[in-house]
Amino acid sequence: MSVYKSLFDIIGPVMVGPSSSHTAGAVRIGLVARSIFGNTPEEVHIVLFGSFAHTYQGHGTDLALISGLMGLPTSSEKIRQAYELAKKANMKVTIESSNDPTEHANTADLYLKSSDGRTLSLRGISLGGGTIDITKIDGFDIHLSGENPTILVFHKDQPGIITQVTGVLAKVNINISNMEVSRRGKGELALMLLATDGEIPAQTMEEIGKIAHINQVIALGALNVEPDFISDSDTKEEYSYDPQITGSN
């Protein structure tokens, strides 16, 4: 039952202060939202609950979420200037504190919108030590930690889709470590989450996107890779967690 195995669990991680749960975890929630959305959204509405709502100013939870949405890693010096950076990136941000009860004390709801009308809603909770759980995507109840590469497949609830998707992965010898399916109703839109042991090649993503009744496929990289070193280069930070997106309608 050893929780800590590596020297770097004790001396590390490198992160912006002051709190791994209220700052580093919040950056990661923003990063996952950005990865699913595919780029920097034009409009973001953030609703904070529980301890996030009460202490977000002091902990910079708002700055952290915004920074994640812009693709900055947890160790970026620029997190403090998140509002200025958002303005420069033409990202409109509104923050709301809610007294509504939630299951976990550190909860944030994110509503993303792009100028072409694309939207994404997502609920993230910060579990402590920088570990997170995304518990809702566009109303689908799921669990996504960001620790492993994951494929998100939006599809019509139909027999045989899961077999086809897993078949494509089996062909390229990619092992699935965890799997979850959530649907709006029988025969309606569904979301399939497949966590894998390895990153997914673009070609495999394309192949999955071609399967009938699949609306969109999104590949998320693993978040737990610490940046090699703090970089001052804008571009490197900006795109370090960008996803690959393919899809067919």
Binding site: L7, D9, I10, I11, P13, V14, G17, P18, G60, R80
Partner: protein, 302 residues
């Protein structure tokens, strides 16, 4: 990885190796990384600590307005030559304060073992490294020994304030700093064990009761005091003083105290210092204005 520190110490004695050699070998086996890779990663973390210390000495301010610039005051005090505790101890206090102030101000830090206790370990290292003429490799070894001891504390007890109170954070930080200091001074693995035990004993029972739930008050000053506990414990052990309670029993006691501690004293801001009259005023001001005006708080007090 061995679970108990006494077993590690016995093994080191048997094999005639130092604590850092043992922990480095464990890391290489566990992660599959080469020695160079482990050292390079540790070097990156060390330079983050150095950068944070320099930034903090220049003077920073936290977003809440509650803390900042005390490292600057301490540095001026050190330069005045009036410090009773001598230049090494005072220097350690300057660095520890500086780094934890940078943490509170949302600067980049390396958790040692947590963000809230990120000042103590580098504070000690930066104060002794010139005096002991430690090479860069010696400094990395210092961090490796500290980290290895931290793994043992984390797995036998806790390094989380929400789980074990501040004794698990600053207490652990001071304890692993003491063990690493003994090694840097040429002490034996067994003396490192006694230093760790003495330091941890001196911080047992310390609650985590941060004002307004922020990692600022009293966290920063506890990092500062943590270096003094760490260094005095190392010196006791180097002088031949032994902990009467074996080190692993002290670690276990810390874990048990943490479990017995009421939730109000474990990072919830529902008890202790966080519920004092002044702390509640500060929390209210933060909630209303997103900023704490320390002057107005002290005026209200009188």
């Amino acid at each position: 990885m061995i679970h108990r520190l006494q077993e590690v110490i016995s093994l080191c004695d048997l094999e005639q190796i130092s604590l850092h050699e043992y922990f480095l070998a464990c890391e290489m086996e566990e992660s599959g990384s080469s020695e160079e890779e482990v050292l390079r990663h540790m070097e990156q973390n060390l330079s983050v600590m150095e950068r944070a210390a320099l930034q903090g000495i220049e003077g920073v301010k936290s977003r809440s307005g509650m803390t900042g610039a005390d490292a600057k005051l301490l540095a001026q005090y050190l330069q005045s030559g009036k410090a009773l505790s001598g230049s090494i101890y005072t220097r350690a206090m300057v660095y520890a304060t500086a780094i934890n102030e940078v943490n509170a101000a949302m600067g980049v830090i390396c958790a040692t073992p947590t963000a809230g206790s990120s000042g103590t370990l580098p504070g000690v290292l930066f104060a002794i490294r010139n005096h002991l003429k430690m090479s860069r490799r010696d400094q990395l070894n210092f961090l490796i020994t500290a980290a290895g001891c931290g793994i043992i504390i984390g797995n036998q007890a806790s390094i989380s304030g929400a789980e074990g109170g501040c004794q698990a954070e600053v207490g652990s930080a001071a304890a692993i700093s003491a063990a690493a200091t003994v090694e840097a001074c040429g002490g034996t693995p067994s003396q490192s064990g006694h230093a760790l035990a003495i330091a941890l004993k001196n911080l047992l029972g310390l609650s985590c009761d941060p004002v307004a739930g922020l990692v600022e008050v009293p966290c920063i000053k506890r990092n500062t005091a943590g270096v003094v506990i760490a260094m005095s414990s190392a010196e006791m052990s180097l002088a031949g003083v032994k902990s009467r309670i074996p080190v692993d029993e002290v670690i276990e006691a810390m874990g048990k105290i943490g479990r017995m501690m009421p939730v109000a004293l474990k990072e919830t801001a529902l008890g202790g210092l966080a519920q004092t009259k002044t702390a509640l005023k500060m929390a209210k001001q933060l909630e209303e204005n997103a900023y704490i005006d320390l002057e107005s708080i002290s005026v209200q007090k009188e």
